[in-house]
Symmetry: C2
Subunit: 362 residues, 2 copies
Amino acid sequence: MSVSGPEPGRTSRTFYLGTEVSAVSEERRLDVLRAIVEDYVRTREPVGSRILTERHQLGVSPATVRNDMAALEEAGLIAQPHTSAGRIPTDKGYRLFVDQLAEVRPLSVPQKRAIETFLSEAVDLDDVVARAGRLIAQLTGQVAVVQYPSLRRSGLRHLELVPTAEGRLLVVVITDTGRVEQRFLDVPVDLDDGTLGELRARLNAATAGRRLADIGDAFAGVAEAMPAEHRPLATAVAEVVTAALAEESEERIVLTGQANLARSGMRFEQGLRPVLEALEEQVVLLGLLTDMTDDAKVAVSIGHENRLAGLAETSVVTSGYGSSDGDTVAILSSIGPTRMDYPGTIAAVRAVARYLSRVLPG
Amino acid sequence: MSVSGPEPGRTSRTFYLGTEVSAVSEERRLDVLRAIVEDYVRTREPVGSRILTERHQLGVSPATVRNDMAALEEAGLIAQPHTSAGRIPTDKGYRLFVDQLAEVRPLSVPQKRAIETFLSEAVDLDDVVARAGRLIAQLTGQVAVVQYPSLRRSGLRHLELVPTAEGRLLVVVITDTGRVEQRFLDVPVDLDDGTLGELRARLNAATAGRRLADIGDAFAGVAEAMPAEHRPLATAVAEVVTAALAEESEERIVLTGQANLARSGMRFEQGLRPVLEALEEQVVLLGLLTDMTDDAKVAVSIGHENRLAGLAETSVVTSGYGSSDGDTVAILSSIGPTRMDYPGTIAAVRAVARYLSRVLPG
DNA sequence: GATTGGCACTCGGTTGGTGAGAGTGCTGGA
DNA sequence: TCCAGCACTCTCACCAACCGAGTGCCAATC
């Protein structure tokens, strides 16, 4: 294989295949790749040279296509499951397809309207998230993952202390994005209602309207001002709220459409198990999605590009979503086999993320 | 087949098989059934007469067992997949096994301790529910379904009104069982903070500590006392809270361990798809569980006994759980193939339900 | 140099036949 | 009532043969 770069004046696409051919041939080879991806996605069967010439207007004979296929295989873009079978795209082939060849296919107007209507009917945040998941699952025919809006960027609306049985205290945080977080806290049993009320009032007075990220200082002030015997409690509450922000608060996600994985034609070499297991590792999964996502852009991770071994046979399409000012506060994604309808999935994820940003409070 | 009942003085079990045999034979036939169920659950293979006599101390020859098997088959308790195969239990056979033959097998002490520890480490209600699901999924190796505690029986701790963008109001209800519900509400845009604060104060004063079920009257009073121009808003808030109680509030459930369905040896005739689809119909699923569940007792529904067609090849084991005073406020269940370890599953569900009741606030 | 038709080759999937093994039902005797 | 023996059935694993799709290569042609 030649390692020389593209010659001046020619299309830089020669780079992708790495053999020295004319720009015209290069162009056609990429057409062949696109045709292979599209056919394989549709039929789920390895596609041979004859079929390809019959179904696509390539203007050349099967023999020529075979030569092109050999070049594509040399470049690692397609592969043969076995000698006497057609070709299927490799992860690298899908990557090139997604980056260069896929045509953007926006949703139809009725589809867009359906998204808008369905999301606007939501009655609360849980419902918004659940509906977004159902939309993605249905539009893409795959699994949807929707993260709850992040706490960190939200402001504190109200702090509530609820005493429960057995010396436990429930701390409830209400943010201005409509999200509610709760944590239990062990407290001295001799805590009377009056003291609790006082603490509640002070905490709220000191923190109302602040960003959650910089609430620590406010708490310190309150703790100082409390009578000495209640100072530890104030500190504990502060710690609980801080912890809620730091750790588990980010990890709430909702999965929808797992049944889609079991549909006919969703064959995975390794079976469903690794995929389902990967999806149940919510913390790790969310980490993967977070790393992929860059603001409100749609990102695609294909096959082995995914850190998670269980997702080696799947591709992940994600987008951030958030408030109307463009800030990304959470993530939305669709997961399906590497052999997925990339343009369609990308369009669906993008559309739902966009409407979601519009509907969210704040 | 004889239709005569059991003769006086004989064991009433003759009823189950319906043929006229001695009490001793009847007893042995049920032993055979028990052996078939236990063997089939363990090996996942149809069990024949020879194997049966080898693995269990039945004290009779294979030929005798064959006769007993014929009787059991006649009674519809076991069946043959095909002529030259062993027998497998029918739904009816499992039912008899569960009702009469299964021996209670309590969890080991370390297991119980593990449950207790794991649940007590939960930091909030979401976490309690999530952990309960993981426990059940892991103990039974099946799918766990956990319902959030019901709102209706809870008392109102606090009512919060959060204004959001675009003339929407977020209504947050905090109950004394630690649960938080939220709803959006469209309001006139000219609502200023002062009015909102007043309304919030009045609503809280009028409703604090009341049972959610009888909160309607309290709201009426508040609406009356408000200046005329804000009366509609107060009424709307009341409606939202009422609606939250009446409808969607009951339907929050969490599924865990779906990956277990894809484990080797979890073969379903119809494939995973109908099962996964049934599990995604959360409203219907919850209805099924609710109908099955009778207080804190463990209930079992086997195969075609399930209303949901998708669950025809599965059995459902449920129990209510709730506060320490014995009230059932929610449901917990494990779903697996009809060929499941019933005693083990029942023990796990019961144990987790019990500890859950103890840990829950209120 | 690019394209193409022809051709030998490879290999997976299907079909049909066979034999082993497991399990059954039945019958007659203890 | 139990049980040993026996003939029968049916599944499954194995094997061989065959078919067809698809390829790679080569020589001829544009």
